[in-house]
């Protein structure tokens, strides 16, 4: 890969049209040329090797703040335990909430992080730090794990985007998720289990006309790029080329191609279909998928809402994990179940739980994560971490290490070396194999 220089003094000003088109239309070369303008790994060979390992990440974002007490760290029979009980799992000695009976049977694949303390009870700030590994500040923007995964792991020769966010309504993905990595690594947002919109060529346009249209676009692009190339123009160019490749591979987004039996196994609801979509995307080599499950911000009637929400989550998620394991994909896929924070041990007057970031849980699985483990411990009433405390910075390093990325390395962006994870934090080595 080469380092590009923009607008003034760019080395790529000499890129001729023929070479540009050849690279744009030829998979890896095109990806490398465009990516090169957005900063590169310090060690390009290492990056290529990493991509060849074909690792992936899937994040389940339990929007609103999943209660750790009704999921991964139940405290039955205590002042804070609430009405839900603990059930044994497939790993002797590890119990989780009785709201997750299917997931309990997959515990031998999973790793619970029960000592999370992020000290941030605000939704937006909590989400930011869990997805970027850094505390939000006005001084700097940091890329989310999805953008970093796309940057580090995605094999663009597959013709698929590296960063996909699946939400019930198709929202999200509009912020500055990629920060200094550039907009190329921002997410493509899918609404539920539907493919990206506008990926079918209108009938009125035949193939020849379509080809001429794109040749014209590329020509004009090239004229413009030769004078005023920036990360934004690269991103526009990339978007068009990516859209073209998406149109060729739109079947990847069509879960009706999955068997009826599989569709039933995942559940006849939005989240079940999103999990099946996630499996399909990962199987096709998409490097990062985020599935949002909403909503867990249960200040009121926490228990009945967790019964409803986790009742939907449990079977679909457990089926997803089991399928990844059965298909050998779990070795190559890090699974993370996170929220912006947990919920208060104290039960409020509305049978609700409020925001609580001092002692909560994150679930991880796959890749290089330990299997069938519970790391960290909270006290009897779940109010404090008493062992194995970790924060967002440590978790972010651990995400990357779990998929073989050296989280201490830097990325060169416009001549600056930027650490991909907070240098003040370190991975949780004890949960990595």
């Amino acid at each position: 890969m080469s380092i590009a220089h923009y607008a003034c003094g760019s080395q790529d000003h000499g890129l001729n049209r023929r070479r540009f088109l050849r690279q744009s239309l030829s998979g890896v070369a095109a990806g490398g040329a465009i990516a090169g303008g957005l900063g590169t790994l310090t060690h390009g060979a290492a990056a290529d090797q990493l991509k060849s390992q074909d690792m992936r990440v899937v994040v389940f974002n339990m929007h609103g703040g999943l209660s750790q007490l009704e999921s991964w760290d139940p405290k039955p029979g205590t002042k804070t335990g609430g009405p839900c009980r603990a059930i044994p799992t497939s790993v002797p000695g590890i119990h989780i909430s009785d709201l997750l009976p299917y997931t309990a049977k997959q515990m031998h694949h999973l790793c619970l992080m029960r000592g999370v303390n992020t000290a941030e009870d605000d939704h937006g700030k909590g989400a930011y730090l869990m997805l970027t590994g850094r505390r939000q500040s006005a001084a700097a923007e940091y890329p989310q794990i999805g953008a970093v995964a796309a940057r580090m792991l995605n094999d663009e020769s597959r013709g698929l985007p590296g960063h996909i966010v699946v939400t019930p309504g198709g929202g999200g993905g509009k912020g500055n998720e990629a920060a200094y990595l550039g907009p190329k690594y921002s997410s493509i947002s899918l609404g539920g289990s539907k493919p990206p919109p506008n990926t079918t060529k209108p009938d009125a346009i035949n193939d020849e006309a379509e080809a001429r249209r794109h040749e014209m676009r590329r020509h004009v692009n090239q004229e413009f790029l030769s004078r005023r190339r920036t990360a934004i123009t690269d991103a526009y160019t990339h978007s068009y080329e990516q859209a073209l490749r998406l149109m060729e591979r739109k079947d990847v987004f069509d879960i009706s191609k999955e068997s009826t039996k599989d569709q039933e196994r995942y559940g006849n609801h939005d989240f079940g279909r999103q999990c099946l979509m996630a499996r399909r995307l990962l199987e096709n080599g998409v490097s990062f998928v985020q599935v949002t499950h909403s909503n867990y911000d249960t200040h009121n009637e926490n228990f009945i809402f967790h019964i409803e929400q986790l009742g939907e989550f449990d079977q679909s998620f457990a089926t997803f994990v089991a399928d990844l394991a059965d298909r050998g994909l779990l070795e190559k896929t890090l699974v993370v179940v996170l929220s912006e924070f947990g919920r208060t041990p104290n039960i409020n007057l509305y049978y609700g739980r409020d925001h609580w970031s001092k002692a909560w849980s994150v679930l991880m699985a796959g890749g290089k994560m330990a299997r069938g483990a519970a790391f960290g411990k909270t006290n009897d009433e779940g109010t404090e971490v008493v062992d194995g405390q970790v924060d967002h910075g440590a978790l972010f390093h651990t995400y990357l290490r779990a998929v073989g990325v050296d989280s201490s390395q830097t990325i060169a962006v416009d001549g600056r070396q930027l650490p991909i994870a907070d240098p003040a934090a370190a991975p949780v080595w004890k949960v990595l194999t």
Partner: protein
């Protein structure tokens, strides 16, 4: 004690404290005992009026459903552990008469037939179950609800069972052939919030008055933010014969309010108890008025109530650990 009813003179007569927040309560038909459940999963039996407390342990989770047998001798509890327990409530040392695993998931309501032969239970598994009160043997299951079932009552004739669910559907079951006879729509009590991917509300409480030919159903409405407790209490007055909504009793100024239970007074006044950020409130409704005719503000947030019609006492279960007994009459 002066027990001539005067709801405008309602006052707290007794308050008894437990160790943890209370959830549900009932008064025995003879008026000599009150039962409550709490967040420590225990039950408490309170002697009226001394307040002597006995604590019963048997459930592995919270208890939302309580009912006394018609002779006051036994208390039935239905827990979030899915268990029904028969308790010998009036013995010196109350104990478990019978314990059965009755439902998958939470039990939300229990009712005993007028002839004391049948126990009905409902819960989150969406199935109505009938049990022999004397033996605990299951009589039958009545599937037909599509969501959690919150409330259950027997028709005074014993020939029908009425059950209400999250969707605001009230099923009337014919107990002779054990078939669904009709469904009454109480949909104003139901809310779907697509942004939060949540369904909320439902028929949290019901009471039937055959003399008046009216069913009242309590819950909540205006649930614009269910997760944030942004909703208001609502009681529906429904014509029993044809299921037509006669009146919606909405109550202003009770943010976060939800009617946990409704009952009838002898004079045909409907009563509901609401919790909410403004505390616990007893609401009294007249059929001529949309708003409540009277409200009595309890000292703290309440989660359940039970009226003893003979003594005009009302028990309320409170978040601040207290069981309170209020008199709906002037202080002596």
């Amino acid at each position: 004690m002066n027990s001539t009813i005067d709801i405008t003179k309602t006052h707290v007569a007794y308050e008894w404290k437990h160790d943890r927040p209370l959830i549900a309560c009932r008064m025995s038909p003879d008026g000599l005992q009150a039962a409550s459940s709490s967040e420590d999963s225990s039950l408490q039996l309170w002697t009226v009026p001394t307040g002597q407390k006995k604590v019963l342990a048997g459930h592995e989770s919270w208890v939302h459903a309580l009912s006394y047998s018609n002779d006051s001798q036994q208390l039935i509890s239905g827990g979030c552990d899915g268990r029904l327990i028969w308790w010998s409530a009036k013995e010196e040392t109350p104990g478990i008469v019978r314990k059965i695993d009755a439902h998958t998931g939470w039990i939300r309501g229990v009712a005993i037939s007028p002839d004391n032969t049948t126990l009905a239970s409902v819960g989150n598994d969406k199935i109505v179950r009938l049990w022999s009160f004397a033996t605990g043997e299951k009589i039958c299951e009545l599937p037909g609800h599509d969501r959690h079932i919150y409330s259950v009552l027997f028709h005074p004739s014993g020939t029908q069972l009425v059950t209400g669910d999250l969707l605001g559907k009230i099923h009337v079951w014919n107990l002779a052939d054990r078939k669904l006879e009709r469904t009454i729509e109480a949909t104003p009590l139901y809310a779907e919030n697509k942004g939060q991917n949540a369904e909320y509300g439902g028929v949290r409480a019901m009471a039937l008055n055959i003399e008046r030919g009216e069913l009242i159903a309590g819950g909540t409405h205006k649930a614009t933010n269910p997760f944030g407790a942004v909703h208001e209490p609502l009681v529906l007055r429904i014509n029993w014969a044809d299921g037509v909504l006669k009146k919606s009793h909405s109550c202003e100024g009770i943010p976060g309010g939800l009617v946990w239970r409704v009952q009838w007074l002898k004079d045909g006044t409907a009563v509901g108890v609401s919790g909410g950020s403004t505390g616990g409130i007893l609401l009294f409704f007249h059929d001529a008025l949309e708003k409540e005719m009277h409200r009595f503000k309890l000292p703290t947030l309440a989660r359940d109530m039970d009226i003893h019609l003979e003594s005009n006492l009302v028990a309320t279960a409170h978040y601040d650990n207290h069981l309170r007994i209020s008199g709906m009459f002037a202080k002596a």
